[in-house]
């Protein structure tokens, strides 16, 4: 229970490598055409965005509506490095992510003392302020945005950075620091009375979430050649939020499943334009009305879930008490 399970970890790594390699091979052989590759990359970026927002909204229970703003910071930060300096792409991504993380601290410190809807509206405001400031800086293209960003993002990079994001956030959540973060969602007053520095953990969760949003922004900027302030508006924040809510606030696997599903759905509905968003909106309202906890609630998807269920059934059939 309290040791590194090396066998399991090697197995997971093997599965990941096989998945990555087979996609890579199929891209090479032309079985996966550029359109599918684009969507695979979008899935990866969306997973990073959803899982990182889930840390803030799901695990820490703070309601952020400004995730796209941090994505913008990362996108611009990374793009500026590649466009204006000779530094390698890795450093550009790192710079964008760290810049977004620092912005997360700067935004988080004053706003995270607010609660519920007030926090939601304040983060939304900050997202819009970040965008509004970018529009007003000519050095980074103002309202027209930046273009001619080299296409440096590829499948391999997105895949492994997505894996890294999920591992970092999952490891954080499943530790005493993660429990401290979750306790704030459960009952902030009790958490503080039990010695948890709630401000510290709120800001920490917020800035870690922002940092990865920035990473996603950097990847995004270097795949689509151009970035504009309009790309990172409230609607983008909302898109990410839908993934988190649909997957279950407080479930990493839920966010992953929702990010995959919604990216595919969105690609399939691309031709419908406005109707896509009508369907999105209806989906969201229906989920809230009938399953407000989302697909997974706060649970994680695992193979054990099925085992537990069958055990429960047997237990009930024999009429014995279970759950000890």
């Amino acid at each position: 229970m309290f040791q590194r399970k090396i066998g399991k970890q090697i197995a997971i790594l093997a599965v990941l490598i096989i998945f990555w390699a087979s996609v890579q091979a199929m891209v090479g052989l032309g079985i996966i055409n550029p359109y599918y590759e684009l969507n695979l990359i979008l899935i990866g970026i969306n997973i990073i965005l959803a899982v990182s927002l889930n840390l803030i909204n799901g695990f820490n229970g703070q309601f952020s509506l400004g995730h796209a703003g941090f994505m913008a910071v990362g996108a611009y930060g990374a793009a500026i490095i590649t466009l204006k300096t000779q530094l390698p792409f890795g450093l550009a991504l790192l710079f964008g992510a760290l810049l977004a993380g620092i912005f997360g601290i700067l935004v988080g410190l004053p706003t995270l003392r607010l609660r519920g809807d007030y926090l939601a509206i304040a983060t939304l405001g900050f997202g819009e302020i970040i965008r509004g400031v970018i529009v007003n800086i000519d050095y980074i293209g103002g309202a027209y945005g930046l273009s001619g960003i080299p296409k440096l993002t590829n499948w391999t990079l997105v895949f492994w950075l997505t894996v890294l994001t999920v591992i970092v956030i999952a490891n954080f959540v499943n530790s005493t620091h993660g429990r401290a973060t979750i306790s704030i969602r459960e009952n902030e007053i009790a958490a503080e009375a039990m010695g948890i520095n709630t401000t510290k953990y709120k800001v920490m969760a917020f800035s870690i979430g922002s940092l990865f949003a920035g990473l996603a922004g950097g990847l995004h900027a270097h795949y689509f050649y151009t970035i504009q302030p309009g790309t990172f508006n409230f609607l983008k924040s909302f898109d990410i939020l839908v993934m988190v809510v649909l997957g279950g606030q407080g479930s990493i696997t839920g966010s992953i499943i929702a990010a995959v599903g919604l990216t595919i759905l969105s690609a399939a509905l691309q031709k419908l334009a406005a109707l896509r968003l009508v369907i999105y909106a209806l989906l969201l309202v229906i989920v809230m009305l009938f399953r407000p906890q989302g697909l997974m609630g706060t649970k994680e998807f695992s193979l054990k879930m099925f085992r537990r269920k069958t055990k429960d059934k047997e237990g009930k059939q024999h009429g014995t008490a279970i759950g000890q």
């Binding site: 309290f2 970092v168 620091h177 306790s183 009952n187 958490a191 009375a193 039990m194 706060t298």
Partner: protein, 255 residues
């Protein structure tokens, strides 16, 4: 020297003086009660002691060190833990996670250790699990360690709250109506448990309670609060026969 000394503690909300000139002295290992009619200011006093409210006047000293102006989590780190009148558990988390969270301040590994899963993480988690299980055994909750706190019956939720406060390893434990909603049998068991943990953990305990049988049975020293002021203090015997206390509780004509 007194472990906790509260001098002239007062607080006003707008024009209302909820607590005025509260003076308390608790020595190490004291088991004291704070009683008084509804609205007398008992919970407000607890909230000042634990940093939830900032007093308008007066001072709170723990072992000679002032707690004034510290945040609730800092006061907890100084060795003061509490429970709440309206239970405030981490309801959607398991029983053991409730305790592990309270152990957090004593965690042995940092954020990097957690993210990189350094060896310290595994040993630190093991230690937290073992310590939590020990406490659960003491509070007779070990068989429910995996259940969600919300799913426990009421009496067990109260016990879990005390266990959780104990997990922060306090010197001073503040219990806000620990027996509220319990039946006489549960109350009796709780009395014994409070006595036992005081001796076992070398604790000082201050409790707020409405249940007189519990207060008289377990407390060695009682403070009576009415309209924000201490009107009497002494042993249970002295309090029972105090005219002002009887007046406060029953009204003047009854005395």
């Amino acid at each position: 020297m007194a472990l906790l000394s509260v001098s002239d503690l007062s607080i006003s909300f707008g024009g209302l003086r909820a607590v005025s000139n509260l003076n308390l002295e608790l020595n190490k290992n004291d088991l004291a009660g704070l009683i008084g009619p509804n609205g007398a200011g008992k919970t407000t006093a607890f909230n000042m002691l634990t940093g939830v409210y900032l007093p308008t006047e007066g001072d709170i000293k723990l072992d000679g060190k002032s707690l004034l102006g510290l945040k609730p989590y800092q006061i907890n780190h100084c060795g003061v833990a509490r429970t709440f009148q309206n239970i405030r558990l981490f309801g959607d988390l398991s029983v053991i996670d409730n305790l592990k969270i309270a152990y957090h301040s004593h965690a042995k590994y940092g954020v990097w250790g957690a993210i990189c899963r350094l060896p310290g993480f595994y040993s630190g988690e093991k230690e937290m699990y073992e310590k939590s299980m020990e406490l659960l055994k003491i509070f007779k909750l070990e068989h429910k360690w995996e259940e969600l706190a919300n799913n426990l019956p009421y009496g067990e939720q109260r016990r879990l709250e005390i266990a959780r406060a104990m997990a922060t390893q306090p010197r001073l434990l503040l219990l806000d109506e620990p027996a509220a909603g319990m039946n006489p049998q549960e109350t009796h068991e709780l009395m014994e448990m409070i006595h036992w943990i005081r001796d076992q953990f070398d604790l000082t305990i201050l409790l707020i309670e409405h249940d007189m049988s519990l207060v008289m049975g377990v407390c060695e020293k009682i403070y009576v609060l009415d309209y924000g002021q201490i009107i009497a203090q002494g042993t249970p015997e002295e309090i029972k026969n105090n005219r002002r206390v009887i007046e406060a509780y029953l009204g003047e004509e009854a005395s």
